[in-house]
Amino acid sequence: MIRRRTLLATSAAALAAPAVSKAQGVTKLSIYYPIAVGGPIPAIIDGYCKEFQTQTGIEVTPVYAGNYGETMTKAVTAIRGGTGPQLAVLLAAEMHSLQDMDILVSLDELGLDAEGRKWVEGFYPAFLANSRVDGKTWSVPFQRSTAIMYYNKAAFAEAGLDPDKFPRTWAELAAAAAKLTKRDASGRVVRWGVKLASDAGNAQWTFGALANQAGHILMNEAGTETYFNHPKAIEAMAFWRSLAFEHKATPEGISAWPQLSPDFLEGNAAIIQHTTGNLTNVRDKAGFPFGVAGLPGKEGPRTVVGGGNLYFFKQANAAERAAALKFARFLSAPERAADWSIRTGYIGTRPDAYETPALKEYVTKFPPADVARGFLPVAVGELSTFENQRVYKALTDNIQACLNGAKSAAQAMVDTQAEADRILKPYKRA
């Protein structure tokens, strides 16, 4: 109680004296942080927090709360209980759901001046695709990635394919994957051509990329409508299904995300669709020459972005909000975005990060690190609606039924749309 009153008093004082930095009254913030891939990410974040404290005197305590889903659960539970963090990194695609809970504060309300607005404009537009609605910006891109293809160059050479030319169209991918699929004398597959994740939590991401590859966006910007029964969405689903049932180049049934990296590293899958965030891991463990390429498309490469953004919570007082904004700007400064990208494999969220000497030098030395960025212009935002997780479940269930052979592509998409319509009915405004 005393602390809150002190904070209020100081923030009032800070507002009254414009010469004093607004954030000075606040010395403590806490941020919930999800760990989505392996590696030393907590150590890196701890380092940034320490540096921020030395610069500004504000102590930021990161709470590593599990994966994206668990972090969301914990953050929301804590906030509903009246405590909780001032900011958190959560899935970019959860914007509508978080808004619906009425716990967010937009960047515009945090108090952006002209210079601040210019800073927001400096992010890659693809990374802001899941941040904007009603003319307001609700989150700051941070731990961002895109889907990319990892491919086994040795397997390409063995199958008589050019290891330096990755397929650019669906037809080329299907043909290459069929050639890459290797069977032993008994007909048992010893290497699959391609594997895409279709387990819960990942199927919708894979499908978002495929839909974009067919030239289709799955929802409106307001997050109140979905377009699954569109012929182009059905076409995307049919292509995915055909990789298993016609081309026999990917297993029927479910392929789980956590299994893809081991499959690739074991030589059990020649091509996998995964996140850029996995690059450092694959680089360190692959026992064969591998390549990184953009996703193909029906006619040409198309992909989808993914990952987490920084969200700000309403319950923070004015001084805490200002401090939180300051921390967000600190994290996205070009040198730090560059350092982050080099140490994790996530993409620098702003073009100016790639102008820094450190990142310039790194991508010259290790060109695969720069492949994903080249595909940002053909990337779209993730599937993001109100009741996001429910819509994800409807889509995932139907994708799984389709890949198990229980439903046709058209049936799966029509059923998804019917379920999504039912879920989103309360959000349709006339």
């Binding site: 809970m101 009425d102 479940k393």
Partner: protein
């Protein structure tokens, strides 16, 4: 008069700690759940609204709920008898004089000591298609690949195998304890009478084990609805709800969809189901149990 009152007071004081814990952590949440299930889920600025049994009606129309109920029924009907029979067989095996008996007992009991999350991760490797343990084994016999957890037909049986493996060792301990407590003179008397081993088992051992069996059955039923850790780790209910069990669906509804009213409704249904099963077990089976 005053003495009586003091005694009453004393009695209340003695049960107070237990009462407080029971009310706070069992009865109050159960009542609150029932109340919540009659309201809509509060959303942002919209407060909860009383809707009566509307949530229950909506639940009847939810295909995933029926799927989960069906899965759970199959799961219970297979895993309970399988793990109980296996537990009895294992207990009988390690109750006889065998070389290395303590080691064998240990081996049977090991799965029980491992946390379910660890068990699920180990089995995740067993079930890995192509190069997992099971595919390697069936590969030796020239059989093709199996997408154990990714195929709707094999996913639920795979989860049941894990549950039986985990549970049987635990129930074995109770059977073993009961077998050890059985007076040896019964066996001697029976062999003097010229009773066959099978006859002795059927007429003497099994009836004497009935109290243990009832206890084990009650636990097995509860566990069949309570243990979902392996679902979270291995399949998250997929493919297409093939492994969605009731409790997992409650978790999903409550903490992924934040539909607290529907989660409360589901919880009430689960409570009613477990309550009915418990009444049946104690009322019907309990009467047939012979206590010494």
């Amino acid at each position: 008069m005053a003495g009586v009152r003091r005694e009453t007071l004393q009695a209340w004081a003695l049960i107070l700690p237990a009462l407080v814990l029971l009310v706070a952590f069992t009865h109050w949440p159960a009542v609150a759940t029932l109340v919540d299930s009659l309201y809509t889920t509060p959303k942002g600025s919209r407060p909860p609204r009383f809707v009566g049994v509307e949530n229950y009606v909506a639940l009847m129309d939810d295909p995933v709920f029926w799927r989960a109920l069906h899965n759970n029924a199959v799961y219970a009907l297979v895993t309970i008898p399988a793990s109980v029979v296996l537990a009895l067989l294992m207990a009988l095996a390690v109750n006889t004089a065998l070389p290395g008996r303590p080691l064998l007992r240990m081996a049977y009991f090991t799965p029980t000591m491992l946390p379910m999350i660890a068990v699920a991760n180990i089995w995740l490797f067993f079930f890995t298609p192509d190069y997992g343990l099971f595919d390697r084994i069936v590969g030796v016999f020239g059989m093709g690949r199996h997408n154990w957890l990714g195929d709707a037909a094999t996913a639920l049986p795979a989860m049941m195998a894990v549950a039986v493996w985990k549970e049987a060792g635990f129930f074995m301990i109770f059977y073993l304890a009961a077998l050890q407590a059985m007076p040896p003179d019964l066996k001697e008397a029976a062999s003097l009478e010229g009773s066959s081993r099978w006859n002795f088992f059927r007429r003497v051992t099994l009836p004497l084990l009935m109290p243990t069996t009832l206890f084990v059955l009650v636990n097995a039923v509860i566990n069949a609805f309570r243990l979902v850790d392996h679902v979270v780790v291995m399949t998250r209910g997929g493919p297409d709800n093939a492994t969605t069990l009731l409790l997992y669906y409650i978790y999903e509804t409550g903490f992924r969809f934040w539909d607290t009213a529907m989660a409360a409704t589901l919880t009430v249904v689960l409570l009613a189901l477990l309550g009915t099963l418990a009444i049946f077990q104690f009322g019907v089976l309990g009467r047939r149990v012979h206590y010494r």
